[in-house]
């Protein structure tokens, strides 16, 4: 059967069969890089189009509908425009940091792709600290944002970057604690183990109310971490023009824009892996027929379906809720999310020790 697992194994075997191990490894690096970059550009086009369509329909509008059938090539046209545009560097800017920042943000988003399992047996790097790797690397992206804000030599940019720093540092806590709930239940940081532990049911169904609370906290925290509305203090169009990327133009702006959407995809992929069973199909108890039909749907479709569902939920938030003030934002984290997720973690631990989950 044609599946991602078989294709990747076949390529792997062929490479090691026809070249020396070192050459084969390097060739695999190149292949993976090409795959990740093409996935990136594809995701960027799809997610931005999806955002525009979702926002339009939620605001009783039509959205892009002129370029290509049903406006499907709108983002392609936008990208072409951005490539052709001039990438300016302001006079007073710190040239090195200014030009480095978008690439740092982008590279970190790329690194985050490593531990994810996109389909059954299809993974770049099955590292035994997958979830830790994710939380550790994703918090570096704030450095790229701070760099951009500082190097722009612009008040708005600096303010946006500082807000973004405060926000990401505080929301990392509750995101981490809600991820920890699943780690406690699974007993492993390896992504493949976490997915394997959900074979007989996703954690959101098996883990009773505490895991649902952890899921809600996770979604809120990652919305804040990716600087999305209603937590888009870092950009806040009405106050800071565009926050940390005010001074960027052309392709460097496009990189920031792309990284934002890739980050949304990545955190949603993590949410889908931890709470919704990754590529595991939906199984309901003893309904054998139903379970068999679900098994026929390819695992990659399950994974991307769940991820895009979560992306849709985050877009739904963005186009429904008004932006929070910075003090309200920090209140929400330190007075509500953090205490709730701490108590919740205790409950989950109790549940895991006493074996109350299914």
């Amino acid at each position: 059967m044609l599946s991602f697992e078989n294709i990747s194994n076949a390529i792997h075997n062929w490479l090691y069969h026809s070249f020396s191990p070192t050459t084969a490894l390097w060739l695999e690096f190149v292949l993976v890089a090409v795959c990740v970059i093409s996935l990136f550009s594809f995701l960027g086009l799809v997610l931005i189009l999806m955002e525009r369509k979702v926002s339009a329909w939620m605001q009783v509008r039509l959205g892009p509908n002129r370029v290509g059938p049903k406006g499907m090539f709108q983002t392609v046209a936008d990208t072409l425009k951005l490539i052709v545009k001039e990438s300016m560097t302001p006079d007073g800017a710190d040239k090195l940091l200014f030009n480095l920042a978008p690439f740092i943000v982008m590279i970190i988003a790329m690194m985050l792709m490593a531990p994810f399992m996109f389909a059954r047996g299809f993974q770049i790097w099955d590292i035994n600290i997958g979830v830790l790797f994710f939380t550790a690397v994703s918090s570096i992206s704030v450095i790229g944002i701070l760099m951009a804000g500082w190097a722009s030599n612009n008040k708005y940019s600096l303010l946006g970057a500082m807000r973004s720093g405060a926000q990401i540092v505080s929301y990392e806590l509750s995101a981490g604690l809600s991820i920890l709930c699943i780690i406690v239940l699974t007993g492993s940081l390896r992504i493949s183990d976490i997915i394997a532990s959900q074979e007989n049911g996703w954690w959101i169904f098996k883990g009773h109310i505490p895991v649902i609370i952890a899921f809600v906290t996770f979604i809120i925290a990652v919305t804040a971490e990716t600087n999305r509305a209603p937590f888009d203090m870092a950009e806040a169009e009405s106050e800071l023009t565009a926050g940390f990327h005010t001074e960027y133009s052309g392709m460097k702006f496009a990189l920031f824009f792309l990284a934002e959407y890739i980050n949304i995809f990545i955190v949603c992929a993590l949410g889908a892996t931890l709470f919704l069973g990754g590529w595991m199909p939906l199984h309901v108890g003893h309904w054998q027929g139903f379970n068999h039909i679900m098994d026929y749907i390819p695992s990659s479709i399950w994974f991307f379906g769940k991820t895009f569902f979560l992306v849709f939920v985050i877009m739904w938030f963005r186009w429904t809720f008004p932006r929070l003030r910075i003090d309200q934002l920090l209140n929400l984290e330190w007075k509500y999310l953090l205490p709730i997720s701490m108590v919740n973690l205790l409950l989950v631990t109790l549940m895991a020790i006493l074996g109350w989950h299914f």
Binding site: R61, W319, T320
Partner: protein, 159 residues
Amino acid sequence: MSFLGKYISNVFGAIRSLWKGMKLTGYYFTHHKEIITQQYPDNKDTLLLPERFRGEVVMPHDENNEHACTGCTACELACPNGTIKIITKFDIAPDGRKKKAIDTFVYHLELCTMCNLCIEACPTDAIKMAQTFEHSVFDRNELTKKLNKPGSRIREGIE
């Protein structure tokens, strides 16, 4: 324990109100019939404008070429930027009395902001807002309009 109860009811109240908002946007997301966007140049023939759309001021005339304007200049006084200028004359009524009537109702479309104040000020409903909006012309003299048709008279019984 009352602070804990307040805390928990705060959280639930927040979730409920957020869900209320998400329900509305979710409704619009799934019901595309509610979309109000007009694809203007494409649907020029079937264009559906809202009833209260304000395009320009017009003066309706009936089939006898009669209008309802008494020339009271209430609209001219109400207009914030001098869009309307009414030139009055004196008609001789059948019983020999002199009667004030309009000679010309001058309307400067280029000055008008479609604020609707003149229509609200009019005591006899002689003017109203039309739904036309394609106003661009090559000569700006064309934007100065005479709203009363030539030879028109005031309708009987309107004071």
